[in-house]
């Protein structure tokens, strides 16, 4: 079943104390596929995404990306492996300009600016930033050009604001910046965690168009979304979770009509509504220890 999958996670399990938040979940995404994960609040969706993208460590299970084992890699290694994600509540760098925000997305691709020589790399990196040989300048110029191109795909919304700090942007524009930052990573797989959370009707429609455009570019996308309308329109395949387990998987229509799915949503009585409040997603609560990341 996993053959041909770009990303395949098997038996993913995560326990918090006595609670099993994610219980032996299998998830497979093929190249160019659009997979959505739905489920009521507390179903374990975001925990699952955190495990796949390295934000959290799984107790059991394995994740392979293009045949390479990426189980429990640090977020940084995940990024280097080509996994890019956005955050449910948006995490742009407020005091950085739009340009700088998206350039951070290019970080893993910097070659000239980030020498890989062992031991002396730190000294070289500082010296190169000071001296700026032609290679570094060319690389930076190319990245900046690319950022402009990525930002331009969002129409005229962001381009005039390239040099403004992102704290001055509207909520929707900040989400756009976040997606642009993810695209700048040149990801093999793009993980979108509720990109329309907190958006109004018209913003939601715009975001749906953006995600639709990403899909049409042939990108491999994993989506968590509460707004079922978007899920039904865009997904190639849908996975429904409840209580940390997969309860249904298949075409959008099949999952929507699955009695188990309906029961799960009715049982929680929050179909598609409201802001989920999974603690593990809230900024600042991702780890137990008070002072340590």
């Amino acid at each position: 079943m996993s053959s041909g999958a770009l990303l395949s996670a098997t038996g993913v399990t995560r326990r918090f104390g006595g609670i099993i938040a994610v219980d032996g979940v299998d998830l497979h995404v093929r190249e160019g596929e659009f997979l959505s994960v739905i489920g009521p609040n507390g179903a374990g969706k975001t925990t699952l995404f955190n495990l796949i993208s390295g934000q959290d460590r799984m107790d059991e299970g394995r994740v392979m990306l293009e045949g390479r084992d990426i189980t429990n890699l640090s977020p940084r290694r995940m990024a280097e492996a080509g996994v890019a994600r956005t955050f449910q509540h948006g995490r742009v760098f407020g005091n950085l300009s739009v340009m700088d925000n998206v350039l951070i997305g290019c970080h893993t691709r910097l070659r000239a600016a980030r020498p890989r020589v062992p031991v002396v790399a730190p000294v070289l990196e500082i010296l190169r930033a000071l001296i700026r040989p032609a290679s570094v300048r060319a690389e930076e110029a190319a990245m900046r050009e690319e950022v402009r191109a990525i930002v331009a795909t969002f129409g005229e919304r962001l381009t005039p604001r390239l040099d403004e700090p992102t704290y001055a942007l509207s909520y929707a524009n900040r989400r756009r910046v976040e997606i642009a930052r993810a695209l700048a990573l040149h990801p093999r797989i793009l993980i979108l965690d509720e990109p329309t959370a907190g958006m109004n009707e018209s913003e939601t429609v715009e975001m749906r168009d953006i995600v639709d455009a990403l899909k049409r570019q042939g990108r491999t996308i994993l989506l968590i979304e509460h707004k079922l309308d978007m899920v039904m329109r865009l997904s190639d395949r849908v996975m429904a979770m409840d209580n940390g387990r997969v309860i249904a998987e298949g075409t959008p229509a099949a999952v929507r009509d699955d009695p188990k799915v309906i029961e799960a949503y009715l049982g929680h009585a929050t179909i598609g509504g409201g802001e989920p409040a999974e603690a593990s997603l809230m900024p600042g609560t991702s780890r137990a220890a008070g002072g340590v990341q």
Partner: protein
């Protein structure tokens, strides 16, 4: 001395408990405040001192009996506590936690200085008649005051615990601590609750000052910071907001120190205290007595870099400023020139700290350690025969390496844990210098450091040394500005804004914090080394905690992360008071007030944070 087993362990235990109960008494108040305001109150030591002096006025100057003195001291401490809340905490409600922490440092400096001005620096006796009996314990004895201190600490902790968990107001207090907005919706008057808590803690701190003053029969205005730091270590051990845990933390700290002295000698006492602090922060940040997750973790971002656009002075203005500065020696006033040399040495240190504290967001209260490393490295190398020019460069490189390695444990910390952690690292460096006698000459200091002669050219006379330092400031300001405009600048600022998001996009935050520390260490090491050659004598106390606080004040004044701001602020803070020496007696008051007012009214600094 015989084997370890033959040591009088029982007596060491008694000694540890006696001093530990003093720490516990301090810690209870600190824990209470941390529990409610989520803040380490650095002014708590000053409240302690105020209490001691109110006690002196009542018991000695007015001749009141003890039963009348204690309530008056509590009242005085309560008022000061409430005042701290009103002046330093309440207005900063909406800022990140490091802001009120720094504000309390400012308040502490001011209070200490007021006591100093009113009562002078001379220690005073506080003879309060106590019952004459003493109980023999082991080979020594304990008296009524030892027991009073311990019992007061335990009763205070028990009463506070009962208050917090058994009364309605206590519930309100805890609700405030957990979720301010929710508490507000439930109709809790947050301000009143906060003020009540600061008043209670103030009263406790003041009584501690009185009791400890009676215990030693001595009070002086210079104890505040030291005793506060011990209380802080105690609450880190006991769990920051854990009031009963504070008692345990205090006693454990007392025991650790006592056993440390038993094994290694008295000069290692503080080294143990700060090593324990650092270890606790890294291994068990929620304290020894934490059951799983008692508190929610800190927020991700630890800075209070305000959303602001830094002022960017035009290039011609900067060039003009440098030109004007270069002409200072031509005024023919060597004193002015020397003061400006000092100011620019501070500027060099401030440039390096503004990178760490401003750009990367690691607000360090231990920056003087980098200066000390640079100073010792260059002093020892040049005394051993290395030419001064090479000594400076080697010292800068050594500081870059060693400073980064030492600060590395703090990279994992966030929020104001960074501040405490760097403070501990700074103190540890100073104490290692003190105790590593074979290398550093210990408390004797290093004498006869060669004067600044670079490649046979005299840089030690007033004017050349001024130009040298000014030149270093200009060069390093330009280098740092260039770094900030590279990919490193945005990467550092991204780490400051949101470390998790930065890591998610492939930024190794520890690696880049290390790069920043390396570059800043190079700059700071050079500043320290030049200072050492200027002084010709340095010791472990040449670059102390006050130096760190002063540099941080400069950095905040200039605007966190703002290179030009750091230089301008250094000239203002380190230069101005020297030029108006009439005000010399009030210099510390000036620094304290500057820190407090800045954080209150212009946290972005003069030129804006970057």
């Amino acid at each position: 001395m015989g084997s370890i087993l033959s040591l009088p362990w029982f007596d060491f235990t008694v000694s540890g408990v006696v001093i530990g109960s003093i720490y516990a008494l301090m810690a209870v108040g600190l824990a209470l405040i941390f529990g409610v305001a989520n803040l380490i109150n650095f002014a708590h030591g000053a409240v302690f001192t105020v209490g001691a002096y109110v006690g002196w006025v009542c018991a000695v100057a007015l001749g009141l009996p003890l039963w009348a003195t204690v309530p008056l001291v509590a009242l005085g401490g309560g008022l000061v506590g409430a005042g701290i809340e009103y002046i330093a905490i309440r207005p900063l409600n909406r800022q990140s936690r490091i802001a009120p922490l720094l504000a309390t440092i400012g308040v502490g400096l001011i209070l200490d200085q007021i006591v100093h001005i009113l009562f002078g620096a001379n220690p005073r006796a506080l003879p309060v008649p106590m019952p004459g009996w003493r109980v023999s314990v082991g080979q020594g004895s304990i008296g009524p005051i030892d027991i009073t201190i311990f019992v007061t600490a335990v009763i205070a902790a028990a009463a506070l615990y009962a208050f917090l968990f058994r009364t309605r107001l206590g519930m309100a207090v805890r609700a405030t601590a957990q979720d301010e907005d929710a508490a507000k919706q439930m109709g809790v008057n947050i301000h009143a609750v906060n003020m009540a808590v600061f008043a209670i803690a103030g009263a406790l701190g003041a009584i501690a000052g009185l009791l400890v003053g009676i215990y030693y029969n001595a009070i002086d205005p210079n104890t505040s910071f030291q005793i506060m730091l011990k209380g802080m270590v105690a609450i880190v051990i006991g769990g920051m907001a854990n009031v009963p845990g504070a008692i345990g933390g205090g006693v454990i700290l007392g025991l650790i120190e006592s056993y440390g002295i038993a094994l290694f000698g008295a000069s290692y006492r503080n080294l143990f205290a700060f090593a324990v602090l650092l270890l606790m922060l890294l291994v068990k940040p929620n304290g020894l007595f934490a059951k799983g997750r008692e508190r929610e973790a800190e927020p991700m971002t630890g800075t209070f870099v305000i959303q602001s656009m830094p002022v960017r002075p035009p290039g011609w203005l900067l060039a003009l400023g440098v030109a004007a500065a270069a002409l200072v020696p031509l005024a023919g006033q060597p004193y002015l020139t020397q003061v400006m040399t000092n100011a620019f040495l501070y500027a060099l240190a401030a440039i390096s700290l503004t990178l760490i504290a401003g750009t990367v967001g690691l607000v360090s209260i231990g920056h003087a350690a980098l200066l000390a490393i640079g100073a010792y490295a260059s002093a020892l190398l040049t005394i051993a025969g290395l030419p001064v020019a090479l000594g400076l460069v080697a010292a800068a490189a050594i500081t870059a390496l060693l400073g980064t390695a030492l600060a590395y444990p703090a990279f994992r910390l966030r929020g104001h844990y960074v501040a405490i952690g760097t403070l501990a690292i700074g103190e540890i460096v100073s104490l290692v210098i003190l105790n590593w006698t074979s290398l550093t000459n210990g408390s004797m200091g290093v004498f006869g450091i060669p004067p600044l002669t670079l490649f046979g050219v005299d840089f030690f006379s007033t004017n050349p040394s001024y130009w040298l330092v000014l030149g270093l400031v200009v060069v390093f300001a330009l280098l740092q500005t260039r770094l900030l405009s590279s990919h490193l600048g945005r990467t550092w600022r991204a780490i400051r804004e949101d470390t998790v998001a930065a890591e998610t996009y492939g930024v190794g935050s520890n690696y880049y914090k290390g790069l920043a520390y390396g570059f800043a260490g190079f700059t700071a090491g050079l500043a320290g080394a030049v200072t050492a050659h200027q002084f010709s004598y340095i010791n472990f106390d040449t670059f102390n905690l006050l130096t760190s606080v002063l540099i941080l004040t400069i950095v905040i004044l200039g605007g966190l992360g703002n290179v030009t701001g750091a230089i301008v602020a250094a000239v203002l803070v380190a230069g101005l008071p020297e030029m108006f020496r009439v005000l010399a007696e009030y210099r510390m008051l000036f620094y304290g007030a500057a820190l407090l007012l800045l954080i209150r009214f212009r946290p972005r600094g003069l030129l804006g944070s970057g």
